[in-house]
Structure formats: structure tokens, C-alpha cells
């Protein structure tokens, strides 16, 4: 199993380049730039790293066809792939942050399927892509300018229908915030639909996990608490493994303190019991100080045993410290 890191575009293209090149020296497989609505454009922020890197892959996660037409997504990924000399990737999903900001629905399987089919065809070797779908059309789209091998197309999914569609459309699947306690449900579904037998080696399976380990334990927990709401938006399946049934219902009815903390960039989640916060931080993130690294490596080993080909560790503040920690202590233990 390999390790990727995910950075937020708000740190800017120059910092992303420097951090990506540092990650490259450690053998980290990919730098993913997170495509958030309230941050700089992720594709643009990735360009300097793509141009400067030699071995590390450069990807964008996650992109939704409500924000850009699928052909435009394909065009952006192909551009990134040219600059990254064939080392680009993208995660396309029906959700992410953008649909909410542009007032559109999420979890639309048919729409996402059309988008993925258009993107997949555009990334491949077809000289001209034409498509007549219910949601999207394409007329004689060609990419004669491309010179590199195709970028990797990931689908982002958690529900059965979306997983089924992605397993037959994409090169890979990236989950978000899945933990070993959830394997039975989610991998049970995936393994019934993904072409394990037909594609034993070329269907990649990834998962995004928040990484908050710091020298200072308090700073780590503060950061993890601040970001809790975006751990799968604290949907039921993500909180049930860690909370009592009545606590689950309470959190589902009270997401706003978590959202407020995220928006105000504070680790203080007003009105939520510390017990609940502690449980969710422990279950849904990798937090703590360097003395916690060994047990988090054990958790990563569980992903490896289940057939995950890579894990993408989402970094926040002090990314240099995190990359060094991952590169020096975690990566050698996992590979």
C-alpha cells in the first residue's frame, strides 16, 4: 500500500510546489489538491508542482460536474497531466463542497455516470469525442495536443449505486473518512460490484483520512475538532461506530456547532459534550502527538489488509512537519 497526501489550495501554488517536492523526496506517491469552493482554484494551484515534479503524482480531489462541464473537467485534467508528464489524477464525484455553493443536488448517479463516461472517453485515445446524454452533450471534442499517457480517473462514492457505477466506469475509487470499523458495510458492498476478478491489479482503492499529528498534542486535537464537520459531514454511518445511539441522534440533530467551529476556524465546539468530541476525533481522524504514530500505523495496516492500494492523508497546518513525520516514520513502516 502506498501513501498520498492531500493539501488545501489555500496555501497557494508556490507552497504547494515546495511541499510536493518535499513529499517527492520521501517517496510519497501523490499530492492531491483539495477542490474546495472557498479557496483558490485547485487545478491552477497544482500547476507549478506539476511542472517541477519528477516522480510524484499530482491530483485534484474532488470535482463535481455541477461546477464545470465534464468536457471542461477532462480538459483541465489533461492539461495538468501534460504538465505533470503523465502523472496526474482526478477524483470526480456527485458531491463535495461545490454543489451546495452553486445550489445543486448531490448523489445524482445518472448525472455523474454521464460525466464520468464523457471524461473517461476524453482522457483516452479517441480522436474525437461526441456524446448525446440526458444531462450532457459533447460534439467533436478532440485533444490532439496531448502527448502523455492518460491520467487516472477516480470516482468518489460511498453508497451502493454510486459504487457500482464507478466500479465499471473508472480506474479507481476514493472513499472519504472510512475507518476500519466501517469496512464490513462499505467493503461488503464494493466487493460485490467491483471487478476484482477481471481487474485484480488495475482497479485502485483509496481512502482520504484526516491527519492531525503534531508535536503539540493540544494543537493537534484543536485542529481535529475544528475540522470535524467535514468528516463526511458527520452522516449517520460515520458516527454510529463511535457513539451511543442517543448520542448519534443528538449529533444528527445538532450539526451547527460543528459547522460554526469549522467556519470560525476554532476547535471549540460550543454545546457539544467533550466525550462526543473526543470519540469522533479518535474514531474519524489520526490525531495526537508522535507517541500515537504506532497505533495509527496499525490502523493503516488494517486498510492494507483489506486491499486498499493507497491512503490519502489530509494535512492542515504545519504541513512540512507532517510530511517529514509521514515520510520518515509512517511510510517505511507501511510499505
Amino acid at each position: 500500500m502506498q501513501l498520498d497526501i492531500a493539501l488545501e489550495s489555500k496555501i497557494g501554488p508556490t507552497a504547494i510546489k515546495e511541499l510536493g517536492l518535499l513529499a517527492e523526496t520521501y517517496g510519497i506517491r501523490t499530492v492531491w489538491i483539495q477542490n474546495l469552493a472557498r479557496a483558490p482554484d485547485a487545478f491552477m494551484a497544482a500547476v507549478p508542482l506539476a511542472l517541477a515534479s519528477s516522480t510524484i503524482k499530482v491530483g485534484i480531489a474532488v470535482v463535481c460536474s455541477h461546477e464545470m462541464h465534464p468536457l471542461k473537467i477532462a480538459n483541465a485534467v489533461l492539461t495538468l497531466n501534460e504538465y505533470a508528464k503523465g502523472k496526474a489524477g482526478v477524483v470526480v464525484t456527485s458531491g463535495g463542497e461545490w454543489p451546495g455553493v452553486v445550489g445543486k443536488k448531490i448523489a445524482e448517479v445518472a448525472r455523474t455516470k454521464e460525466a464520468l463516461e464523457i471524461i473517461k472517453a476524453s482522457l483516452g485515445n479517441e480522436p474525437n469525442v461526441s456524446y448525446e446524454g440526458e444531462f450532457y452533450k459533447a460534439q467533436m471534442f478532440n485533444t490532439k495536443w496531448k502527448t502523455q499517457s492518460p491520467p487516472t480517473l477516480y470516482g468518489g462514492a460511498h453508497r451502493a449505486k454510486m459504487m457500482q457505477m464507478i466500479a465499471t466506469t473508472c480506474d479507481a475509487l476514493m472513499f472519504s473518512d472510512i475507518q476500519p470499523e466501517m469496512f464490513d458495510g462499505i467493503l461488503g458492498t464494493l466487493n460485490t460490484v467491483r471487478p476484482i476478478e477481471d481487474r485484480p491489479n488495475d482497479f485502485r482503492l483509496s481512502n482520504f483520512i484526516a491527519w492531525h499529528i503534531k508535536e503539540n498534542r493540544e494543537a493537534s486535537l484543536w485542529e481535529a475538532q475544528r475540522e470535524l464537520i467535514i468528516r463526511a459531514w458527520l452522516y449517520r454511518e460515520w458516527i454510529e461506530p463511535y457513539l451511543e445511539p442517543e448520542e448519534v441522534e443528538w449529533v444528527l440533530k445538532n450539526p451547527f456547532p460543528f459547522l460554526k467551529a469549522y467556519r470560525e476556524r476554532t476547535g471549540d465546539i460550543e454545546g457539544v459534550s467533550q466525550h462526543i468530541v473526543d470519540q469522533l476525533v479518535e474514531g474519524l481522524t489520526m490525531s495526537g502527538d508522535p507517541s500515537d504514530i504506532d497505533r495509527h500505523i496499525e490502523r493503516l495496516e488494517a486498510f492494507k489488509r483489506e486491499g486498499f492500494t493507497e491512503i490519502s492523508l489530509g494535512l492542515q497546518e504545519d504541513p512540512v512537519e507532517s510530511i517529514k513525520m509521514i515520510g520518515e516514520q509512517v511510510l517505511p513502516a507501511i510499505q
Binding site: 483558490p40 511542472l51 464545470m68 483541465a76 501534460e82 504538465y83 451546495g100 452553486v102 452533450k137 459533447a138
Partner: protein
């Protein structure tokens, strides 16, 4: 009047950076990357130049709200603007190459462009932006990560409806292939709309996209101009009538395919179109010839200045470094 350069869409990010830095030395106002569907992403290719440049503006033209949600255009433009330390710009239009490729109905072009311009202007200026349009929505968008002065937002507009709409929403307009002989078509409409919107004194930018095909070898210049002829206002009636007889105008309107075919094949041979038509269109709809023609094109450019244009964006094609040097050394110093 300032001069901008619009680069060919097939250039790489590194080439654009080098050409842009060369243009910066000559004192050009802006470099625009052209947003074509059959080329690399125009925003992405502009990033290295934006990061490396110090004075020159860096823009993308033309982006339509059919290819990206207006908030996404705003986000990309703001990103470019941050990279360029406040020197970013974008031209929003209802047409362009992408729209045809995406198979959209064109009947709502003006409404779509208006809503897009309103969203983009709101998104880059308001702390938290909400919008509830007929075509587009925005909810709780904020760009508190930005630090620089806002980018300039142009509308790509040549016809009366689009010009009138743009004058109330955009920071400027970029017309397409308007020759001096055509000034009476767009300018009265634009000037009236600016007056109606009380914008005659707020530095509203008036630009025109103008094809530039001056080469050492005159024949090469003419071949390039012919190859690109179809994209000169898509040879619609207003772009033909000033230069052709009524019968020839109708002939071209009925026979655009040879122009499209030449453009697609990158050929100067336009099958079945009489030579006198090609010569008249090449002469009328751009700046084509060899260096001995420069004086008359400087005269032509000065007519834009006299008519109130704040800049002209010269669209250069093959041998862009030659064109930038030629314009920088021999044209820029002589403009009013």
C-alpha cells in the same frame, strides 16, 4: 491607448511565461490566453506567467458560463488575480468555441452572460455572496482568502444587446474584430448605454480584439490570415457588409463551410471562394502584410484611440516572439 497581446491557444505554460515576460519589457498592458476547447486549459497555462510577472496584466478570454458555473469562473479569475498580485482579468462571453462543442441552446446567451457577470462581480466583491437567478444560483460563497485588488471583468460583446447589458455590469467590454469602418455599429449603442448607467467617468474599459498577421514574408502573412478567416466575427453579416458587395456578402453567408474547413485543416486554401472576396476580407478584418505596411496599421490603430477605445488586443498567431518584438519596437512607441 494601450496595446494588449492575445496568444495562440496551442502554447504551453512555459512558452506563455517567456512571451509574457518579453511583452512586459516592451510595456504592453496585458497578455491574454485564449480559451479554446481544443487546447490546454487557458487559466492553468496562465499561472506561471502570473506568478513570474511584475507589471503586465494576465487575462483569459473568452470564458462562457456554459462551460463553467459563474462562481467557478469567479474562483478561477480570483486565483489568477492572486497569482498576478492584482493584475488578473477575464473576458466573459456568451459564445466562443466551447459553447458549440457542448451543444447548448444559444437562445439565452444574453441572459446567461448577464447573470454570469452579476455573479462574478458579486463573488469577487462581497464578503458572503448569494444570488438567485433564473439560470444560476450562488449560496454563501466567500473568497476571504483573497488579498489583492479585484481583477478586471470584461464582457465579450459586439452587438447592441450584449453591449447595452454589459455596460451596466462589467468593468469593460472587449469587442471582436471591429474595424474602424464598423465603429458606427457598436459605439453609439455603447456610449448611450454607458451614459444611461452613469458610467461615462468611471474608467470603463473599451477594447477590441484585432487579428495581427504582419510577417517578414508577406505571403506567409496572407496565408495565416486566410487560414484564420472564419473566426473573424464568424463572418456574420456585420463583419462582411463593410467590405463586400451585397451579392458577395450573401455568397459568404451561404458558403461558410470552406472557411471552416480551411481553419480546421490549418490551411490557407479556401475552396471555391473567389480571390477578390478573400483579399477584401483579409484587408478589412485585421492587420496583414509585411513591415512595409506598419505605418498604415499604426494609422488604423490610432483611429481606435480617437474613437475612445482604451486598448486594442492584438491577436498574434505563428511566430509570436517575432510579432511581440515587432509591435513592441515599431508600433507601441508610435501610438497616441
Amino acid at each position: 491607448m494601450d496595446i494588449d497581446i492575445i496568444l495562440e491557444a496551442d502554447l504551453t505554460a512555459q512558452q506563455i511565461k517567456e512571451l509574457g515576460l518579453m511583452a512586459e519589457k516592451f510595456g504592453f498592458r496585458a497578455i491574454w490566453t485564449q480559451n479554446y476547447a481544443k487546447a490546454r486549459d487557458a487559466f492553468m497555462t496562465a499561472v506561471p506567467l502570473a506568478l513570474a510577472s511584475k507589471k503586465i496584466m494576465v487575462g483569459v478570454c473568452i470564458v462562457s458560463p456554459y462551460e463553467m458555473h459563474p462562481l467557478k469562473i469567479a474562483n478561477a479569475t480570483l486565483t489568477l488575480n492572486e497569482c498576478a498580485k492584482g493584475r488578473g482579468c477575464v473576458t466573459i462571453g456568451g459564445g466562443g468555441e466551447w459553447m458549440m462543442m457542448l451543444g447548448f441552446d444559444t437562445s439565452k446567451r444574453v441572459s446567461a452572460t448577464r447573470e454570469a457577470l452579476e455573479i462574478i462581480q458579486g463573488a469577487i466583491r462581497e464578503d458572503t455572496f448569494n444570488y438567485n437567478g433564473k439560470l444560476y444560483k450562488a449560496r454563501w460563497f466567500n473568497s476571504d482568502w483573497t488579498t489583492d485588488q479585484p481583477p478586471l471583468i470584461y464582457a465579450g460583446a459586439s452587438g447592441p444587446k450584449m453591449l447595452s447589458m454589459s455596460s451596466g455590469v462589467a468593468d469593460g467590454v472587449m469587442m471582436g474584430d471591429i474595424a474602424p469602418v464598423m465603429f458606427d455599429w457598436p459605439l453609439p449603442t455603447l456610449n448611450k448605454a454607458l451614459a444611461d448607467n452613469n458610467r461615462t467617468d468611471d474608467n470603463f474599459r473599451i477594447s477590441n480584439f484585432l487579428a495581427w498577421h504582419i510577417k517578414e514574408d508577406r505571403e506567409v502573412a496572407i496565408q495565416e490570415a486566410r487560414r484564420e478567416m472564419i473566426v473573424r466575427g464568424w463572418l456574420e453579416r456585420p463583419w462582411l457588409e463593410p467590405f463586400l458587395s451585397p451579392e458577395d456578402t450573401q455568397f459568404v453567408l451561404d458558403n461558410k463551410w470552406p472557411f471552416i474547413d480551411a481553419y480546421r485543416k490549418r490551411s490557407s486554401h479556401i475552396e471555391g471562394i473567389p480571390e477578390h472576396i478573400l483579399e477584401a476580407l483579409v484587408e478589412g478584418l485585421g492587420c496583414t502584410g509585411d513591415p512595409s505596411d506598419l505605418d498604415r496599421y499604426i494609422e488604423k490603430l490610432n483611429k481606435y484611440s480617437e474613437a475612445g477605445f482604451t486598448e486594442v488586443a492584438l491577436r498574434i498567431h505563428d511566430d509570436p516572439d517575432y510579432s511581440i518584438k515587432l509591435i513592441g519596437e515599431l508600433v507601441l512607441p508610435k501610438l497616441h
